[in-house]
């Protein structure tokens, strides 16, 4: 038998053996998984029944009893609690939190200090759902962890809204990269007006333009109307992106006094700023913006015309009349086409 034949023969034997093992592994694994799933479903139904009892008639002792009864089934118990706690508020939720504290918390606290990132991540995810002010000191230790764990820890902290947790979150926001900073904005958004003081403080700090624009976006998205005066100076910021964010935030805030600022922004040298300001003027719905919006329909930029057209439509009957007038004029076909489209869409959707 020559060498090449030997190599091929041994390779074949090895691959055949490996394939057979894999085949049996697949089959056995499937049988085991199916069996596990059946047991899971059975236990799930059992726990669910008890959970439904406690949710219907909250009882301090029953929570303790359930926690002790199922503490040796942490996986199933976690699943049931996670599925129920998101749909429940008030006293019943407190009972579920109590079950978590008695049966699972100890393990979670151990896991957030685990060497394995996945364990830390999973445990931190659970603290997002079952957050408790007393856990803050443990979660804060994860702020120096890897980004994926740190961001989940920030989410968990955001569920414990206190001045101290907000300070931790904002300090971390300043330190973190711009990529992660976007995740902070999504998290902070859920906190609503609670973050007002912190946002005001950080708007006046020297941050990178990206982070600044994210904070301004946040002010508009929530919206934090009391920070109106704080974002106005940024309407003259040299960076175009920041001016766009200011225009957008003002549109969300719908403060009548912002009409003049938005009118100025609608004449900005950058068409992107102008388009956003026109959209916000439309949201403001002030009839005083009729002329600005009508004029903008003759802009050479498509987005500017588009937002101006929709802005006019949102002014009600006066705006619609103006659109019809622009539709009839022959001087600028692009303005006429845009007016026609906006009228058409408004009427068609209005019919539904």
């Amino acid at each position: 038998m020559n060498t090449s034949l030997l190599i091929v023969t041994y390779s074949l034997i090895f691959l055949l053996g490996f394939s057979f093992l894999l085949f049996f592994y697949l089959i056995i694994r499937r049988i085991v998984v199916q069996h596990q799933e059946n047991s899971f479903q059975k236990k799930y139904a059992e726990i669910e029944k008890d959970i439904l009892d406690i949710v219907t008639f909250p009882d301090k002792n029953l929570a303790k009893k359930i926690a002790k009864k199922y503490r040796y089934y942490p996986y199933v118990l976690t699943r049931v609690l996670v599925n129920y706690i998101e749909q429940i508020e008030g006293l019943a939720r407190e009972q579920l939190q109590k079950i978590f504290n008695i049966a699972l918390k100890k393990k979670c606290l151990k896991d957030i200090h685990s060497k394995r990132q996945i364990k830390r991540l999973k445990a931190t995810h659970l603290f997002v759902i079952f957050s408790d002010p007393s856990d803050m000191k443990h979660i804060v230790t994860l702020l120096n962890d890897k980004p994926i764990v740190k961001l989940v820890a920030i989410t968990a902290l955001s569920r414990i809204p206190s001045s101290q947790t907000l300070t931790y979150i904002f300090q971390s926001f300043v330190r973190d990269s711009i990529v992660n900073a976007r995740v902070y904005i999504n998290i902070l958004f859920g906190l609503g007006s609670k973050i007002e003081l912190h946002v005001r403080k950080y708007l006046h700090k020297s941050l990178s333009w990206e982070k600044l624009s994210l904070l301004i976006e946040l002010v508009g998205a929530i919206p934090l109307r009391s920070l109106y005066q704080d974002i106005l100076p940024f309407a003259e910021h040299p960076n175009k992106e920041i001016r766009i964010k200011v225009a957008r935030a003002l549109g969300h805030m719908r403060i009548p006094a912002s009409l003049n600022i938005l009118t100025n922004l609608s004449e900005d040298e950058a068409w992107e700023v102008s388009a956003q300001a026109l959209k916000s003027l439309g949201k403001l719905g002030d009839i005083a913006s009729l002329d600005v919006l009508s004029e903008a329909l003759f802009s050479p930029f498509w987005h500017v015309r588009f937002n101006a057209g929709h802005g006019l439509a949102s002014l009600g009957s006066t705006g619609m009349k103006q659109l019809k007038k622009i539709k009839r004029q022959k001087k600028d076909r692009f303005a006429s086409d845009m007016a026609t489209m906006v009228l058409d869409e408004t009427i068609l959707v209005g019919e539904a």
Binding site: L5, V8, F23, L26, F189, L348
Partner: protein, 474 residues
């Protein structure tokens, strides 16, 4: 065998052996990388609710573009599926690409469409648009009726009409799972500057029960051809593409389901109307543009958003489809040949494109060459009998091993086939595909070179049965 013929035989045999070793090693590497990624993803997503994305202020709206050509059988179900997706803000643009059947009529009737005077920016040249329809009862739906071009032309028309910063290209004979857009958009939320595209998993809907535009029961198709393809899709999506993605070498984000940043796609001129494999072509040109401008970028492959699509069930349709895919691959690589082995294009030029050239494009030629040499030698009784036989068996067993590993990936990830019986059937088809099916496919793909040289451009018709057909049979 002596002399020149003998030397040629030895060289060719050596090339085939080295090729065999390299291709299988690479596929094994991809599968192991995929297992790694799937485990990591599965653990990272534990206890994560995708519904949270609804409340995030920085989620970008998406325009879904679905080109349709003679899709009357499935267009209503797939449009309904698209309209029932869970996503904060999106529009569905169905582009009727000059269908000869009742695709447009059915859409107009079902969704009560009205002709609109919508204006749009013509950012890319396309065949003329005959009309734009909107639905007063479904404001998310826009139907564009245009003169027939190719799929790329229809996608460009959709891009022109679209209004949102991200777009999702989808085949109009496909069905998306409800949460799939929420899952696909995660990379764009996490890193909106760098992420320029994301792809998901495509699976076959043949045999599945579809209700209200959603796959409600997953079953294996009855057609053996469709069953062979299930395994191929598992290998391609779970094995190959996830593995290649970890090596930052994604060149294909399936046209059946991919999300892209519109600004980047437009800077590259949108889809190339003349391209045959428009999905790969777009990704390659996006990579080219981003490398040339030295813009850091990411193309992500997300392992669990699933798109269900109908696979051909006749030899003719399958042959047309694979022939077109291979012509698309060859044509795209030829069109972007400047990038090949060019360090200026980083990993794209030095690994991804050479991989596709050597192993995907030339693969069928080498395979057919191997079979031909084997047959010729067999006829003339000139082959080293035990070696050739063992080598053939080795190739078959390696193929089976890769299939088993792909099934393992399926078990670790979505596990969409609920019955053990289904898994055993798929494994059995993994064994059977080595007899005739693989050889036939290699021939079909090799023939693509001849068709391309002859200037064949047609897409080839695919017999559509629609989702209702499979559902009725359950």
């Amino acid at each position: 065998m002596d002399g020149i013929l003998g030397s040629v035989y030895q060289v060719v045999t050596a090339i085939i052996l080295v090729y065999f070793f390299l291709i299988n090693s690479l596929y094994l590497l991809f599968i192991f990388l995929s297992i790694l990624k799937i485990f990591r993803y599965r653990n990272a997503m534990a206890y994560v609710s995708f519904k949270d994305i609804f409340q995030m202020p920085l989620v970008k709206p998406i325009s879904i573009i679905a080109p349709a050509y003679n899709e009357e059988m499935g267009i209503i179900e797939s449009t309904q599926s698209l309209l029932s997706l869970e996503y904060p803000l999106y529009e569905v643009i169905v582009v009727n690409d000059g269908s000869k059947d009742d695709t447009l009529k059915k859409l107009i009737k079902t969704f009560d469409l009205k002709k609109s005077k919508r204006v749009f920016r013509k950012m890319i040249e396309t065949k003329p648009i005959k009309g734009i329809y909107i639905s007063p009862s479904n404001p998310k739906l826009v139907v564009v009726d245009k003169v027939n071009g190719k799929k790329a032309d229809a996608m460009n028309a959709g891009l022109n009409v679209s209004r949102y910063p991200l777009f999702c290209g989808i085949d109009s004979d496909s069905i998306l799972e409800k949460e799939s857009l929420l899952k696909m958009v995660r990379p764009f939320i996490e890193d909106p500057e760098k992420t320029v595209g994301a792809g998901g998993i495509v699976r076959l809907s043949n045999g599945c029960k579809v209700k209200s535009g959603q796959v409600v029961k997953v079953r294996l198709p009855r057609s053996p051809l469709a069953r062979f393809q299930i395994l191929e899709y598992l290998r391609a999506f779970l094995g190959g593409r996830i593995g290649l993605n970890l090596l930052k070498s994604t060149l294909i984000i399936s046209g059946a389901f991919g999300v892209f940043r519109k600004d980047v796609a437009l800077k590259c001129g949108g889809y190339r109307a003349a391209s045959i494999g428009e999905d790969m072509d777009l990704v390659v040109r996006m990579r080219k543009y981003l490398h040339e401008k030295k813009i850091p970028f990411k193309l992500e492959f997300v392992p669990d958003p699933i798109c269900w699509t109908e696979a051909p069930e006749t030899l003719k349709s399958l042959s047309n489809q694979r022939n077109r895919w291979h012509r698309g691959l060859v044509e795209t690589l030829y069109h972007s040949r400047k990038m090949l082995f060019n360090p200026r294009y980083g990993i794209t030029g030095m690994f991804a494109m050479p991989f596709y050239l050597i192993f995907e494009m030339l693969g069928p030629i080498i395979e057919v060459m191997g079979y031909t040499i084997f047959t010729v030698l067999l006829i003339f009784g000139q082959y080293d009998q035990p070696f050739a036989l063992l080598f053939f068996l080795l190739a078959v067993v390696f193929g089976i091993l890769l299939s088993l590993l792909s099934i393992l990936l399926e078990e670790y990830s979505a596990r969409r086939y609920p019955r053990l019986k289904d898994i055993i059937i798929i494994i059995a088809y993994g064994l059977m595909e080595n007899i005739l099916y693989r050889q036939w496919l290699a021939l079909v793909r090799a023939r693509a070179f001849i068709d391309l040289a002859l200037g064949k451009e047609e897409w080839g018709e695919m017999e559509k049965r629609g989702f209702a057909f499979d559902s009725q049979k359950q």
